[in-house]
Amino acid sequence: MNEQPVPSIIEAIRQTVAERLQELDGVVGLRRSSEGVAPHVFQQGDDLSELEIVPRYPLTTVVSRLHKSFPEIRLGIVARGCDERAFVEMAKRNQIDPDRLFILGIACTAEEAEECHCAAPFPKHLVVGKPVAPGSPNPVVAEYDNTPLAKRNAFWRRQFAKCIKCYGCRNICPECFCEDCAMEDPAWVEPGLLAPPFPVFHLIRAMHMASRCVACRQCDLTCPAHIPLTVLYDLMRRDMEATLGYIPGEDIKAPPPLSVTLNEAPLLVNTGHMD
């Protein structure tokens, strides 16, 4: 269960949103109603006591949909560290117009940081709350290099055998915005197989996420089969940083490293192919 936020933080963000609504067309956040908590676009005149900051939804996806529908609209977003990182990667890929989005950053609590094993539990544009220390690294990831190949294989076989192919990991992901998904292309994933073919199904997605995954953990949270997907993506993120020095969501000016030349984003490891 998520911790209830400290009242002062929620009050402060409500206050900030109220102020920013003077000049913005709307602020994307979470709203509590009798039905529960869901994403919402707060507009001037809305009851801001309904604004919540848990649970976490991929709010940048809402921004993207609105930016595409309304080419002039200027929005704010109540953003945690992962939301801000998601925004950065989406902006790089033209899914959000950075000139029309204003980050109203909130810091995660220490407990939240620990729960997500989050390396950066606060946004750069922090408005409310104090940055807490990063959560401890995922122990499975830390131990992974010492795990023999056969054991890794057995582990993922067992995990992915549970997959019911709901595509929830993809649907909830703020960085998955393709019109057509490679995981639904019969050339890569033969249709009608349940569980989906291992490891093609999962590795295609992991490879697509290599320069995008911002470690928001939404895929983990939404998986009905409780497959620890972030272990795979954390490993991918680790090797991405080691090979190309790229941390998704870190720098809006850094180009997606796999799409540019070696001059623009050099390879940091010697694979013996540089001659």
């Binding site: 067309d25 709307g26 039905e35 529960g36 908590v37 869901a38 994403p39 919402h40 676009v41 507009q43 649970p55 976490r56 939804y57 809402v62 949909r65 609105l66 529908s69 309304f70 609209i73 019911i164 192919k165 709901c166 595509y167 929830g168 649907n171 909830i172 949270l221 939404t222 998986c223 009905p224």
Partner: protein, 135 residues
């Protein structure tokens, strides 16, 4: 810009997962799993995730169809219901109530399903009633 999320229940099976329909200016544009839903806890299967797929689907029927001279022709609800009542009445009279069966759907609400079994048992007089989620 009128953006809202409307809590509803997945109609595809008897589990009845909670989900939000994402609505922009009166049009459903997507689905969010309901993270604060007691039972479903922000999880959905492939059907729930795609529940918005049929809403505006071009193949969706918007009126009843009646086969006339081998072709399906659009008809009014009054016309269709009268035809069904008439035919059911004839069949019941000719072959008895157990020659008729009722199949209900997860796309109906609890109340609608209750009414259907009531129709089956009390009006027609048969226990031949079942539901797609049991099939």
């Amino acid at each position: 810009m009128d953006y809202k999320n409307v809590l509803t229940t997945c109609v595809y099976c008897g589990c009845g997962c909670g989900l939000y329909l994402e609505v922009l200016d009166g049009r459903v544009i997507g689905v969010w799993p309901a993270k604060t839903h007691e039972i479903t806890d922000g999880k959905l299967c492939i059907k729930g995730w795609n529940i918005d797929g049929f809403i505006y689907h071009e193949d969706r029927l918007k009126t009843p169809l009646i086969r006339k001279d081998g072709h399906l022709v659009e008809a009014s609800w009054d016309e269709a219901l009268s035809l069904v009542a008439e035919k059911l009445g004839t069949i019941k009279a000719e072959s008895g109530p157990d020659s008729i069966a009722f199949l209900s759907s997860a796309k109906g609400t609890n109340e609608e399903n209750y009414l259907l079994q009531k129709l089956s048992r009390a009006v027609i007089g048969t226990n031949n009633v079942d539901h797609c989620a049991r099939l």
